[in-house]
């Protein structure tokens, strides 16, 4: 027990090397993953999930996974400031039927208002003074969504909402804005919710459009099916 490396006792040198190797290997894999999945101008990432393929800004944070016993698959993409979220939910055929039956919904056109109510109820749990407002013909994004629906060749149902005093942070009340979309592809329901604090929502509209344009829903054979 006499060896020394770089003037350090052997076990200490080994410990430092151990930590360095873990950090270097981990960082290299992260870098490699990043480089392999960058697209466009290098500011967007392309990802293939179990339900869809899409692009999203590399600055944004994404979480994904199957829920409700594998009958649905969710993708949540949070903006850089974490104040806005793009929520995508893909139901399997079984999941769609269950969801509609459980919530007494006869068709997909009722899903946005159902989700609006659910969002509002959730806001009431945080701020009891929250009030729900339905917005008619919201600005420039309306025509974009209708155009997007036409390209997909399916009926798209959407709704704009605004929740006044939706949440309180450091004694300041914040309003939120939401765009709730639903559509059916091959008897499978897809929910898209673009929701967040009103200023952040406005700022991230262009990103949302690009994300929406990049979504490629996987065909029935490829998608998770229970």
């Amino acid at each position: 027990m006499r060896a020394k490396i770089f003037g350090l006792r052997l076990p200490l040198a080994m410990f430092i090397l151990l930590i360095l190797s873990f950090v270097i290997v981990g960082s290299s894999i992260i870098y490699w993953t990043l480089v392999c999945n960058l697209v466009d101008d290098g500011n967007w990432l392309h990802i293939k999930t179990d339900a869809c393929e899409l692009k999203f800004p590399k600055k944004w944070y994404m979480e994904k996974g199957s829920v409700e016993n594998g009958t649905a698959y969710i993708v949540n993409i949070f903006s850089e400031d974490f104040k806005t979220v793009v929520h995508l939910k893909f139901y399997s055929r079984v999941g769609t039927q269950e969801f509609m039956r459980k919530n007494n919904l006869s068709d997909a056109s009722l899903v946005p208002s159902f989700n609006a109510q659910r969002l509002y109820n959730w806001s009431l749990g945080i701020s009891e003074n929250a009030t729900l407002h339905f917005i008619e013909g919201e600005s420039n994004i309306t025509s974009f969504i209708e155009e997007w629906g036409k390209k997909r060749g399916c009926d798209i149902h959407y709704l704009f909402i605004s929740i006044r005093d939706a949440y309180k942070k450091q004694d300041t009340l914040y309003n939120t804005t939401g765009l709730l979309i639903s559509l059916m592809i091959d008897q499978r329901l897809i929910e898209i919710i673009f929701y967040g604090e009103e200023h952040s929502w406005e700022e991230n509209q262009e990103y949302f459009k690009l994300i929406l344009n990049s979504i490629e829903v996987l065909k029935a054979g490829d998608i998770f099916e229970s």
């Binding site: 410990f15 950090v23 960082s27 850089e80």
Partner: protein, 160 residues
């Protein structure tokens, strides 16, 4: 000191080593998490964690920075206080601290009980912690041979 008293103190120091491991895990977890968050936000690459490869890579970094370092700190203390039978004793501080941590976070494991999760959240972190613990213990007790001082004797002086 009687042999039984020595054993008692050994156990006490091992338990303290376990507590050091437990505390180090929490401190390093917070420090690593906030540092990584700051780095990835600053670099503007938070999105990379959508990929499983990046999540696994971060897991590898956590193994090194959190688990091996915690084991090392607990090993340093225990190795400093207990000098004998290191081969056996050095496994206990990490083991005790890890079991304590597991008892608090057992809910995470209960969500889905699979071999993969056991390997990822129990077996591998424990092995890395044990390696850290042994390295810590032996760092303190690593006997380095002192160099014999060389004395220069002048032949001229000898002649005088």
């Amino acid at each position: 000191m009687s042999p039984s008293k020595i054993d008692y103190w050994k156990i006490f120091h091992i338990l303290i080593g376990g507590a050091i491991y437990f505390a180090a895990i929490f401190v390093l977890e917070i420090v690593t998490q906030s540092t990584a968050d700051w780095i990835f936000r600053t670099l503007g690459i938070l999105g990379v964690f959508a990929f499983e490869e990046a999540q696994n890579a971060y897991y590898v970094i956590r193994l090194g920075v959190i688990y091996s370092a915690s084991g090392f700190f607990s090993g340093l203390y225990t190795g400093y206080k207990v000098k004998e039978n290191l081969k056996l004793i050095m496994s206990f501080p990490s083991l005790i601290g890890f079991l304590l941590m597991l008892a608090i976070n057992y809910g995470v494991l209960l969500t889905s009980f699979s071999l993969m999760r056991i390997t990822k959240f129990v077996a591998v972190p424990l092995i890395v912690s044990l390696i850290g613990s042994y390295l810590g213990g032996y760092t303190v007790n690593w006997q380095v041979e002192e160099k014999i001082k060389e004395e220069k004797i002048s032949l001229m002086e000898m002649e005088l």
